[in-house]
C-alpha cells in the first residue's frame, strides 16, 4: 500500500511540474529544457530555509517559489526576445550552469553529498509523516494550483498568451505587450515548479544535485509532449503515463543495471512516436506550427 501512495505522491509532484511546463510550452510556445534547474532551485531553497533558518513548511514553499521566480526573471529579462532553437539553447545553458552551481558551491549546497535530514511537510502544528497524510496534503496543493491555472487560462492573460503563441508578430501589432507576457508566464511557471521542488524536498527529505540534471529536464519535457500541450488535462495524463512506465518495466523483472537504460530508451521511443503520430500529445490541443 505504501508503494501505491509513494507513486501517487510522485504523481502529484510531477503533475505540478508538467502543468507549469505546459504553461510555457502549450500556452506561450516557449520550448524549455531547463525546468529541472528551476525545480532544483525550489528544492534547495526550501531545504536550506527549513534546515538552516528554521522555517516551517509553508513559508519555505513560498521561499522556494520566490527564489525560482527571481531566477526566472534573471533569465527572462535579458532573453525574452529569443524564440525557437535559440530559446532552447538559452534554457540548455541555464540548465547546465545552474547544475554546475549546485554541484560546485559546496559551502551552501554541500555539493555532490547533498542535504540530508530535511523535515517532513507540516501545516501549523500538525506534521504529516505518514504517506496517506502527505498524499492528501499534497493533493490539496495540486488542486489549488490546477485551479489557479484553469482560471488563468480563461482570463484575458491566458488568451493573450495563446494569441502570442500562435502569431507573435500579429499579437504585437494589435498592441499586446509580448515582452511582459513572456516574462510573466515564465515567472508563474518557474514559481510553480519551485513549489513542486519544495514539495519533493520535504517528501524525500534528502536531495543532491543528481536529481536536477538535464535527464530530469528531458523527463519533464517528455511528460508534456506525451500527455499533450495547450490544455489542463494533457500534462496530467503525461505525468501519469511517464511515471507508470518505469513501474511497468519493474514488473518485467529486468536487472537493475539495464532497467535505468531501458526506461530512457522507452522515453526516447515515445518522443519519436508522438512526433510522428500525434504531435499534439495524447490529450493535447495545441501542436507546434
Amino acid at each position: 500500500m505504501n508503494y501505491i501512495f509513494h507513486l501517487l505522491i510522485y504523481f502529484e509532484i510531477y503533475v505540478i511540474v508538467a502543468m507549469s511546463l505546459n504553461l510555457l510550452i502549450g500556452y506561450s510556445g516557449l520550448l524549455q529544457v531547463a525546468h529541472a534547474a528551476y525545480y532544483g532551485i525550489g528544492a534547495y531553497t526550501a531545504a536550506l530555509l527549513m534546515l538552516k533558518s528554521g522555517f516551517s513548511f509553508l513559508p519555505a514553499l513560498a521561499g522556494a517559489a520566490i527564489a525560482a521566480g527571481v531566477m526566472s526573471l534573471l533569465v527572462s529579462l535579458p532573453t525574452w526576445r529569443f524564440r525557437g532553437d535559440y530559446f532552447v539553447m538559452i534554457s540548455l545553458a541555464v540548465q547546465v550552469t545552474i547544475y554546475a552551481i549546485m554541484y560546485n558551491w559546496t559551502d551552501l549546497t554541500n555539493g555532490p553529498y547533498g542535504l540530508a535530514g530535511i523535515p517532513k511537510p507540516a501545516l501549523l502544528n500538525s506534521i504529516y509523516a505518514t504517506q496517506e497524510s502527505i498524499f492528501l496534503f499534497y493533493g490539496s496543493i495540486v488542486v489549488l494550483l490546477a485551479g489557479i491555472l484553469a482560471v488563468l487560462k480563461q482570463s484575458p492573460f491566458g488568451r493573450s498568451l495563446q494569441a502570442m503563441r500562435d502569431d507573435e508578430l500579429a499579437a504585437r501589432s494589435v498592441g499586446l505587450p509580448v515582452r511582459l507576457l513572456k516574462i510573466e508566464s515564465f515567472l508563474i511557471a518557474s514559481a510553480m515548479v519551485g513549489v513542486a521542488g519544495g514539495m519533493y524536498t520535504a517528501y524525500v527529505s534528502y536531495i543532491d544535485p543528481t536529481s536536477f540534471t538535464l535527464d530530469e529536464s528531458i523527463l519533464m519535457l517528455s511528460m508534456v509532449i506525451v500527455g499533450g500541450t495547450g490544455n489542463v488535462r494533457g500534462p496530467i495524463i503525461g505525468a501519469a503515463v511517464l511515471i507508470a512506465i518505469p513501474e511497468i518495466l519493474r514488473f518485467l523483472a529486468l536487472p537493475d543495471a539495464i532497467a535505468a537504460n531501458m526506461r530512457l530508451l522507452v522515453y526516447g521511443l515515445l518522443l519519436i512516436l508522438m512526433m510522428h503520430l500525434r504531435p499534439q500529445g495524447l490529450a493535447g490541443k495545441y501542436r507546434f506550427e
Binding site: M89, N104, I218, I225, A257, L265, L269, L271, I272, M275
Partner: protein, 289 residues
C-alpha cells in the same frame, strides 16, 4: 604557452564538431542533437573491431561508415518525414532528442556505462622547446587541421560544395533549379556524422570515452555554430577554436568544474550582445527562423 597550445588543439576538435553540426543545421534547419549519440557511438565500433582482431586500419573506416549510416537513419526515419509534413523546428528537435536517447541507451545496453580506453599505458610525449605534447594530442590536432582544410577547399572549389552553400542559403530555390535536394540532405547527414566520428575517435584516443560524453560534444558544436553565426561555416570553425582556448584558460585559472558553465555563459553573452553571431549577418525579424 602550453595552455594556448592545449586550448588550440582542443579548439580545433571543437571547430570540426561545430562544422559537423552546422553542416546539418544551416542546410536543413534541423537541430541535430542525435549527432551527440553518433559521436558517442564511434569509439565503440572501433573498439569492437579491435577486440575482434581487425586492428585500426579496418576499425576506423568501419566506425566512420557505421556512424554515417546512423546519420542516414536519423534523416530517413525522422527529419525527412517531418520535413515532408513541413513540421516546425520544435518537432525536429524533439524527435532528434528521442533518437539521441535511443542510440545512447542502446550503446549503454550493449557495452555498459563505464568509461573505456582505446590505448593502455602512458602515451608517448614529444617535447618541443618548453611545450610538451602527447602523441594523441598531436595526431588529433593534425587530423582536424587536415579535415578542416579539405572541407573548406571542397566547399569553395567543387560543384557539390557550391550546392551545399546554395542549400544553406535557400533550399527551396535550389530544388526549383532542378537539384536533387533529397540526395543532398542524405549526404549532409552522412558527412556530418562522419566528421563527428573523426572528432570522437581522436578524443577517445586521448582521454577515453563513455556513452554519455556525446551531449557535451554536440553542445560544444552547437555553441560554436551559434557563436560563429548561422550559415557561416568559417564562423563555426573560428568560434570552435576560440571556445577551446577560453575553456582551457578557465580550467587553468579557476577549475575544471566550471568548464561547462563557462561555455554557456560565453554563449549567453554572445547571444545577448551579438545575436547574429561573430560572423553572421543581422536579419530582419520575419527572416529569422
Amino acid at each position: 604557452m602550453q595552455i594556448l597550445i592545449n586550448g588550440t588543439i582542443q579548439g580545433l576538435l571543437f571547430a570540426l564538431m561545430g562544422i559537423a553540426f552546422s553542416l546539418v543545421y544551416s542546410t536543413t534547419r534541423v537541430f541535430h542533437i542525435a549527432l551527440g549519440a553518433i559521436y558517442a557511438l564511434a569509439p565503440y565500433i572501433l573498439l569492437f573491431f579491435i577486440e575482434n582482431g581487425h586492428g585500426w586500419v579496418m576499425g576506423i573506416p568501419a566506425a566512420m561508415m557505421v556512424c554515417a549510416i546512423a546519420g542516414l537513419i536519423c534523416e530517413e526515419t525522422l527529419h525527412w518525414p517531418f520535413h515532408r509534413k513541413s513540421a516546425p523546428p520544435e518537432v525536429h528537435l524533439i524527435g532528434s532528442l528521442g533518437m539521441f536517447l535511443i542510440i545512447i541507451q542502446l550503446i549503454a545496453l550493449c557495452w555498459g556505462n563505464d568509461t573505456q580506453v582505446l590505448r593502455s599505458g602512458i602515451d608517448q610525449v614529444f617535447v618541443i622547446g618548453n611545450i610538451r605534447l602527447a602523441r594523441a594530442q598531436l595526431v588529433g590536432g593534425v587530423i582536424s587541421l587536415v579535415v578542416l582544410g579539405i572541407f573548406f577547399l571542397w566547399l569553395r572549389r567543387s560543384e557539390l560544395g557550391m550546392q551545399f552553400r546554395a542549400m544553406a542559403d535557400n533550399p527551396i530555390l535550389l530544388s526549383l533549379l532542378g537539384r536533387n535536394v533529397r540526395n543532398l540532405r542524405r549526404l549532409v547527414f552522412m558527412l556530418s556524422a562522419t566528421m563527428a566520428a573523426i572528432v570522437s575517435i581522436a578524443t577517445a584516443f586521448d582521454v577515453g570515452f563513455d556513452p554519455h560524453g556525446g551531449l557535451t560534444a554536440v553542445l560544444a558544436g552547437v555553441v560554436a555554430t551559434i557563436m560563429g553565426g548561422r550559415g557561416s561555416f568559417l564562423g563555426a570553425a573560428v568560434a570552435g577554436v576560440l571556445l577551446g582556448l577560453i575553456r582551457s584558460e578557465v580550467v587553468w585559472h579557476f577549475s575544471a568544474r566550471w568548464e561547462e558553465a563557462a561555455t554557456f555563459i560565453l554563449l549567453a553573452l554572445i547571444l545577448f550582445y551579438r545575436p547574429q553571431g561573430l560572423f553572421g549577418r543581422a536579419m530582419r525579424l520575419e527572416e529569422r527562423p
